[in-house]
């Protein structure tokens, strides 16, 4: 049984957000949901200014606070370390969102058909797409995954449930890297089995100094960062849209 983890090399990140779009298409995430979010920020005063980028997926904590607070065991951790939501169980109480110190949870306020950017219900399109919502919806999202066969992959299943990054559970089962990792043009991400000392991710961890976000909270994230952490006086640049009202 692997134990999945990720290393993010901030010294290579160009802040392009291609990973965010790869996630959006692969997981058919709805408007305003950024399971992967790349923060762009600056520090310092003119002309001594530093610009930085920080990709932030779900940290898939070993000691995940979101799992502990879920009253219905919808938020759960698999043996391979993935922290997932069972959309069939989720009651939308949002306790997980409150418990999570990383802000990675995205609640589905609206029904899926109202959340995909455009009105796709169009007969001329449906003859091509078979009515898929959105037309590019990945069919792997609508089948069950994991050892218990749960509905855990992708976004857009129901309104009123909590969603977040799954490390692309549907891709891992095909032995593919998560979409963000696979698409990064400049190889920012390393992904694999933390328990396999020969895996690329283990070798990177062994050879490089890394840090984790909010390590003091003892959440034990399985996402590690290479490079300089953002300082105290960072100012966010170019935030993404929050979604339309």
């Amino acid at each position: 049984m692997p134990r999945y983890g990720m290393v993010i090399d901030l010294d290579r990140c160009m802040g392009c957000r291609a990973c965010m779009e790869a996630c959006k298409i692969e997981n058919a995430t709805t408007e305003g949901h950024f399971w992967m979010n790349v923060f762009r920020y600056e520090e310092g005063e003119y002309p001594d200014v530093h610009v930085g980028f920080l990709p932030r997926p779900c940290q898939h904590c070993e000691n995940a606070p979101c799992v502990k607070v879920c009253p219905v065991q919808a938020r759960h951790q698999q043996d391979d370390g993935l922290v997932l939501t069972d959309f069939k169980r989720c009651i939308g109480c949002r306790y997980c969102e409150v418990a999570c110190p990383y802000g990675v949870n995205y609640f589905a306020f609206a029904e899926p058909e109202d959340s995909y950017y455009l009105d796709w219900s169009d007969p001329a399109l449906e003859s091509v797409t078979g009515g898929a919502q959105p037309p590019y919806r990945n069919p792997d999202l609508d089948v069950r995954h994991g050892p218990d066969g749960r509905l855990v992959a992708g976004d857009g299943h129901y309104g009123g449930v909590m969603t977040k990054c799954t490390f692309c559970v549907q891709r891992l089962e095909k032995d593919l890297d998560p979409a963000c990792v696979a698409n990064c043009p400049v190889d920012v991400f390393t992904f694999g089995d933390l328990d396999d000392p020969e895996s690329e991710v283990s070798r990177k961890l062994a050879s490089t100094r890394t840090f984790r976000l909010k390590e003091e909270l003892n959440t034990r994230p399985k996402v590690f960062y290479v490079g300089t952490p953002p300082g105290e006086d960072t100012r966010e640049l170019e935030p993404v849209s929050k979604g339309r009202e």
């Binding site: 290579r12 160009m14 291609a18």
Partner: protein
Amino acid sequence: MHLTRRALLKSAGVGGGALLASRLVPGGREAAGADEESAAAPVDEWVPTACWIGKQDCGMLARRVDGRVVKFEGNPAHPRNAGTLCPKGMAQIVSVYDPHRLRVPLVRTNEKGSSGEWREASWDEALTLVADKINEVRDDDPKLIIWQKGRSKSKELYDEPVVEALGATRLGHGAFCSDAGYRACEYTTGVEGVLHPDFQHTRYLLSWGWNITNGGGNKLCWITWNRQLLDARERGLKIVVIDPRLRSAGPFADEWLPIRPATDLAFALALQNVLLELGYVDEEYLKNSTNAPFLVGDDGHVVRVGGVEAVWDQASARLKAYDDPTLVDPLLEGKVFLESGQSVRPAFEVVKEHVAQYTPEWAAEITGIPAETIRRIAAELGENAQIGSTIEIDGHSLPYRPVAAMAYHMAQQELGFQATRAMLGVFMLLGAVGAVGGQRIEVGKWKFDEEKWAKWNEVEIGDPPYSFTLKDSKFFPINSANPQVVAGVMQDPERYGVEKLPRMVIVHMTNPLLAYPDQKRAMDLYSRFEFVTVLSPWLTETADYYADVILPTATIEKYEGPIGGTDQYIDAVGLRVPPMEPLYESRGEIDIYLDLMEKVGVLYGEHGYLYYVNEWLKLVEIDEETEEVTPGPYALPLDQKPTVRDIFDRWAKGQGIEEGVAYFEQNGVLVKGPFKVTDFYGAAMDPPFGGVRHRLYGEALLRYREEMKAKGADEIYWQDYTPLPTWRPPTMEASPADYDLYLISYKLIEHKQSRSSFVPLLEELSGGQRLSINPATARARGIENGDEVWVESHNAVTGETRRVRVRAEVTAGIRPDTVGMPHHFGNWTHPWGQNRGPSPNEILFSGEGYVANTADQSYHVKVRVYKA
């Protein structure tokens, strides 16, 4: 275990294109075998195609499940993007399915000049309307038909054969891009391109503008560029960023020089000044591969012996032709008195004397970069250039000068032509042009273009009446046809000595109202055409206001190409293959042109569309002198209409690809392997650089100036035709003092010009228009982050003012005297394009004072900013 993309590439080898596409799964590894429960399993396949939204047509694989495309991923076998996509490439699937795409041809039913009202038409009716108008204008003068492209994705099927078969006039987007830089490089070296580095070897890079992390280099796009940049950086490349705004380079600026906008020429001249002072000069290159030793008289003209440029041979103390085989050692410095009594100096001496005035202290005042910094940068360039050193590559001992500039869009300013020449001059002094690690111009092979080399040297300024493009006129003799210059001509033809004005325009995949500066002037231009037809998948703003007929095109759902596939080092060619049928009633452009040309009556026969397609796809051989045509085995018959697939099948077979188009349907790209070192480096060619003398001294530019003056052109036209780059303050500096800020525009990685700022996913990512403003500048105006402000521009020539309202984004990463806006947005036809803020092109100006001497667009203007 997860295979990384790199591991996959390694196992696939460079010739990964030989893998069957059905076995390729991007981003990971080979597909798992068929599902055990495959009885009811869907048909899940990956088919190759090419990105449609961007500039360099990255190789893609489309995942198709039961015939429905669900995702595009990068094609791992493609040298340009190696299995990855940028945010635009990834998000484009949303726009392919966009229900707001045009579905059927539309014919306008209301007056032009406001939002269109339309009736639906059949393809037959719409094409007949366009063809009838074309024939009406052709009967008058075919040159009065303009074919205007933005993003032509196939020169061989569109730009050349359509224009040639119709006899039309072609307008491109180059004047809004970096044509001033292209012309400067062609004139100086005979190579078409703009300054960029040799990432595999460059150690020290001067980098201009937003390209570095948001756009990539010339002829290449973002992914290729940044993959190479990152690798180079990890090998120790130092990057000095020269940009009023830091964000473009972000963390990859080892040093940031926040230069005052539009002063790059002054900076380059000061670098030359210090290099000469410190003696960082590659005499061998200058003597053997440039015109530095050519003797120049006091009148600025080069002395000739028997019609050939003369040099002074120090060994024999005689005047000799530069190509005289008895020449031993040409003089570079000093002065010589000829027998005639004339005193002459080598061009290099003229350069030295000219540049002596441009001290770092002088440039510091103009550029805002401290004199000591300019000195240090010049010294670092000189040191890092390692003049005299060589490196062994593939058995060739080659000059090694690992210093270069990335100055692609530096050309987008009033002094862009001479600024590029001056920057090129820096690297000529260092001997870095075409050396290993040095200054590159063309992508891939070092292609010396003899025709262009000769063309800009032959001054051919005619007398009126001039063409409406003003090519070869006394106004803009060197120019590549700027639509905004045409706009000025149409407003006042008499002033420009033009008699015949264009009557109709075919707008091919461009949206000039938004994409280019000076929206007001563009509106005026399109309002003056008798007839406008637009080919586009969406209702562009240009079509909305001015089209008579709109022809709805497919996006990615078509065969299109051939597409260059090089990443600069590896040679490759690709083709766009349709992953699905065209949506709605849209059609691919080639299909549209085949029908349109047939209706016009110029499809078949000699000098018809098919005739020119044969020529451009090299399916026939044409003797240049006799014009005799020898058809190759795959030539298109000139009497029958082919399918588009058949055209590309013949093209592929003509390229020696046995399987024909099926090869590309399987693989998407043909990877041919690395370029030979003797093709790649100008210095490695035999003879070096194609045997030409790079023009450090621009004698022809002086001849242009003299001719223009003689024909009575005003100073504003000839002032920058100088043999050596010469500083003057840009025209915009004449704006009143209360227009106290410079406006610059820049590109976002999320967007591509005007063509993506309505793609929902990208719009969500970009957050809409914003004005970058320094905290001190904002504070002085009572502006806080997120406030709405007015940006008001002033035209120093006409006195006109314009303003737009925009949200302020306060950032410390910009000069206090400069504000910036991304050059996207301002759309109004698409629901996701609306209310995203204005385009800076609404308040930028074109025309005299805001174009270069080569008629290419400037992106600078003085503005004032105040709270809304």
